[in-house]
């Protein structure tokens, strides 16, 4: 089965300029050699903390930010300038919902117009675009009679996020990237929007990439999950298996750092100390080694590669590769 989206070796480094001649002072290694595939109809979750590069990855996929290295192939066709699939055509296949529901909507436009903008730009007549916008408002659970002419500031966070989903659907894409789409919402509203996303996925036969820092939500909605740390993929696999049996030390720490829901079993010790380090000048070798309780000399010398196991799981850790030089391998 050909994957709907195949990403290989995605790399993006941002130079930090400064000084008199705007010379490059340092490099933010935001995304480094990230590779994965997304099958049609599945939901791939991407989790990680600040600085892990998940949002940058989303923007690279959407071509909102130019790549340094790597290839992206949508439905087998290479994407890029002069390639089979142009940026413009890619945007008809792949759309994104952003985190900040308020900032993602033009405060000067009525929401129906915000939704209709995409089709309008791709050549649909204004009246037809607005008609499609009204249909989509209905599909996301908002009565077009009441909501079409409202402005973003008149709506609640949950309603705005529904508008953003409708906007993403306006171009009839096949894949939707949800970048922290429910993170800013209240829990009860988050539940409603998650239900909506599941309904929409079924109804419009979509594929999702769901980016979030909330491990519970990712577990609920994803089929497979990708764990990122400081620009690198550290673990990848079916969601239940990874949550039940995490293999990478970071994934283990991440999962055990979640607050306990049982008052009788409170967390006594934090699994990791310190903050996630800065993606400027990341540690050599394995980027997690500075916080890893099992770090050894080989971890500083050799960066681990993401090795795919036979069970569909991939981990990037020397401890799990025999012959790597790690004492626990």
């Amino acid at each position: 089965m050909r994957p709907l989206l195949a990403v290989d070796g995605l790399t993006k480094h941002f130079p930090l300029r400064g000084g008199l001649l705007n010379r490059t002072k340092a490099v933010v290694q935001a995304v480094d050699d990230v590779s994965f595939e997304v099958g049609a109809g599945e939901t791939l979750g991407i989790v990680g903390e600040s600085g892990c590069g998940k949002s940058t990855t989303a923007r690279l996929l959407m071509h909102l930010v130019p790549l340094d290295h790597g290839t992206i192939a949508f439905d087998g066709k290479a994407v890029g300038a002069g390639a089979e699939l142009s940026r413009r055509d890619l945007h008809r296949q792949m759309q994104m919902v952003f985190q900040d529901s308020y900032a993602s909507l033009n405060p000067r436009l009525p929401v129906a117009m915000s939704i209709a903008f995409g089709p309008l730009v791709h050549g649909l007549a204004k009246s037809a675009s607005l008609a499609r916008a009204r249909d989509l408002l209905q599909a996301v659970g908002l009565d077009p009679m009441l909501f079409a002419n409202r402005y973003p500031h008149e709506l609640s966070g949950g309603q705005r996020q529904r508008i953003n989903v409708a906007r993403a659907l306006a171009l009839e894409p096949r894949l939707v990237i949800l970048d922290e789409a429910v993170s800013a919402l209240d829990k009860s509203i988050e539940a409603q929007v998650l239900n909506l996303l599941i309904d929409i996925k079924e109804r419009f036969d979509l594929t999702y990439i769901f980016i979030s820092h909330d491990l519970n939500v990712v577990r609920f909605i994803s089929d497979r999950v990708l764990v990122m740390y400081l620009g690198k993929v550290v673990e990848l696999g079916p969601v239940d298996r990874i949550y039940r049996e995490p293999r990478h030390p970071y994934t283990k720490a991440l999962l055990s750092a979640m607050p306990s829901m049982d008052p009788r079993r409170r967390t006594m010790d934090a699994p990791l100390s310190g903050d996630p380090p800065n993606p400027i000048n990341p540690p050599s070798g394995c980027r997690f080694r500075t916080r890893c309780p099992f770090a050894e000399a080989v971890c500083a010398d050799v960066p681990p590669t993401l090795t795919m196991g036979h069970d569909g799981r991939a981990v990037a850790c020397h401890m799990l590769v025999s012959g790597s030089g790690h004492s626990r391998a």
Binding site: Q95, N106, M113, G157
Partner: protein, 300 residues
């Protein structure tokens, strides 16, 4: 379950949003302006002034160009000339009203023209970024380095006096600050999420400018331009005072200030009158632009 629109929205902040249903941004700005008494008063004064100035013949009894050697420098309250007469016997009140035409024109027109040119260049620079931005901004910086009054003096000094040259000089002086502000707000707007979302929809530059950028940057640019008018009026009067602006025998407040200097020892109050008009007009525009800025700071 879906949102039932009948059930209202969250948060104290949300509750306030609910109280302002169905209103576009400009409607809300208008509502806030309506409640601002100071701004309303300023607007009223300016409208009254404009009316008088445009319909000058209805508000004055004498010809502003008609002098009388016998009636030179008559004081305030003199029968027939309620504000007195100037140094060649012309009715001061008529001179003030007719003078308002040129003073206002010379103050407002340059800002309007500079808004067109500077606004266009600034938005272009802000949206394009990169080399285009650098080129335009550095060019603007060169002009910006000169204090506006000196620049205006230099230009009128070269081109000669007269209303047209005054307007040209002031326009050139006002283009750089307008380029700056336009570029600044456009650059800011360019990085907003909804502009990124518009790019993600595959929209080209023109569409994005048309639907997303313009409506969001025109507000702050307009406010800045309004505040420039108050400066424009003062600068225009200043140029005329120096003899580089409007030429005699035309009536213009700055010119009148210069001519009435002779009356300083005779009747100081008359001397100050054109200055008072300049002050009132300039301050009104200034406070109006402040009020506009506050009203536009609708951050719900």
């Amino acid at each position: 379950m879906t949102d039932t629109p009948a059930i209202a929205i969250a948060e104290p902040v949300e509750a306030l949003r609910r109280a302002q249903q169905g209103k576009s941004y400009w409607k809300r700005v208008w509502e806030r302006l309506r409640r601002d008494k100071v701004t309303l008063a300023m607007a009223a004064i300016l409208i009254a002034l404009l009316t008088m100035v445009i319909f000058a013949p209805w508000f004055t009894a004498h010809d502003p160009y008609q002098g009388s050697v016998l009636r030179r420098l008559k004081p305030i309250g003199f029968p027939g000339h309620w504000l007195g007469t100037d140094e060649v016997g012309r009715d001061l009140w008529s001179r003030m009203v007719y003078g308002g035409r040129l003073s206002l024109l010379a103050g407002v027109m340059p800002v309007f023209l500079a808004l067109l040119v500077g606004g266009f260049l600034g938005i272009l620079a802000g949206y394009a970024g990169g080399l285009v931005n650098s080129a335009i901004m550095r060019l603007a910086d060169v002009l910006y380095a000169f204090p506006s009054i000196l620049l205006a003096i230099a230009i009128t000094g070269i081109l000669g006096a007269g209303l047209r040259n005054t307007i040209l000089a002031l326009t050139i002086a006002f283009v750089p600050p307008l380029v700056r502000i336009s570029e600044a707000v456009t650059t800011q707007a360019r990085h907003l999420d909804f502009v990124e979302a518009a790019r993600a929809s595959g929209a080209g530059t023109m569409r994005i400018l048309q639907y997303h950028i313009l409506s969001n940057v025109l507000g702050p640019i307009l406010v800045y331009a309004t505040s420039l008018i108050s400066i424009g009026i003062i600068l225009a009067a200043g140029l005329s005072f120096l003899g580089l602006g409007v030429t005699p025998p035309n009536a213009e407040w700055g010119l009148m200030l210069n001519n009435l200097r002779q009356a300083l020892w005779v009747d100081p109050v008359i001397c100050a009158l054109p200055g008072v008009m300049i002050f009132i007009t300039s301050m009104c525009f200034n406070l109006l632009s402040d009020g506009l800025r506050q009203a536009m700071d609708v951050r719900l």
